[in-house]
Amino acid sequence: MKLNNEEINRYSRHLTLPEVGMAGQLEIKKSRVLMIGAGGLGSPLGMYLGAVGVGKIGLVDFDVVDHTNLHRQIAHTTADEGRPKVESLRDTILAGNPHVEIIEHSGYFNAHNCLAIVKDYDLILDGSDNFPTRFCANDAAFFLKKPLIHGAIFQFEGQVTVFAPHLGGPCYRCLLPEPPPEGAVPT
């Protein structure tokens, strides 16, 4: 794999950072990242990961863009209202960087499809908004030995961690052995 001249120019500020360099930029280009959720967390995630040159980004979301999403789901614009979020986010990412391959997984992420989706990626991002999806993402990532980058928000607080039991770290169930009663934790 090589960068063409346009890409070298595009990523030049990365290429001159010793911590990234040509080898690092090629690693970024080779990487395949799955994003579960194309909403509040998914918007900045997708836009930045696309801009920095992640080679392949998978987008999972079942929802369509709603007017009430726009004040925080910044990848979606007023013109995107009613469109599937994966399509809207795809267009935003590609407008920023056409070198990214986007795979759309429009629909729910659940026990029936999670392994088939996750297996084609190196890193899994959890930007979902509910406990069933979070437990499902955790278990799928564990069984397929993929790092799971967890992010969750509530009101004015956020939580981020990386679950990588195959690297000796904890998993989501180590942090939260059982789900809370429905309604006890607003999302």
Binding site: G40, L41, R72, Q73, S128, A152, P177, P179, P180
Partner: protein, 92 residues
């Protein structure tokens, strides 16, 4: 000086909107007893009907989970910090 208990935003309304409350006690349990005595409404939001900390709330003593010390019996001293961290799931 006592033990500081940090309150997450979801529970602040039960402690007069304070970010943290200073209490006295020699164990996590005593510190929580003291907290719930001052703020009775907090108790059912922190503990289940069997008196156990609700399963979606983790308690950290000086940044480590009390499950890996002696749980609620973990001893505390002046200057220690107990942090209450409920799990959250939002992403939208």
């Amino acid at each position: 000086m006592g033990v500081v208990i940090e309150i997450p935003s979801a529970l602040k309304k039960y402690v007069n909107n304070q970010d943290e409350v200073e209490v006295q006690g020699n164990s996590v349990e005593e510190a929580f007893d003291s907290l719930c005595k001052d703020f009775a409404e907090l108790k059912p939001n922190l503990f289940d009907e069997n008196g156990k900390v609700r399963n979606f709330i983790n308690v950290y003593l000086n940044d480590d989970d009390i499950r890996y010390a002696e749980g609620m019996n973990s001893s505390v001293q002046d200057g220690d910090c107990i942090q209450i961290v409920p799990s959250i799931a939002g992403g939208r």
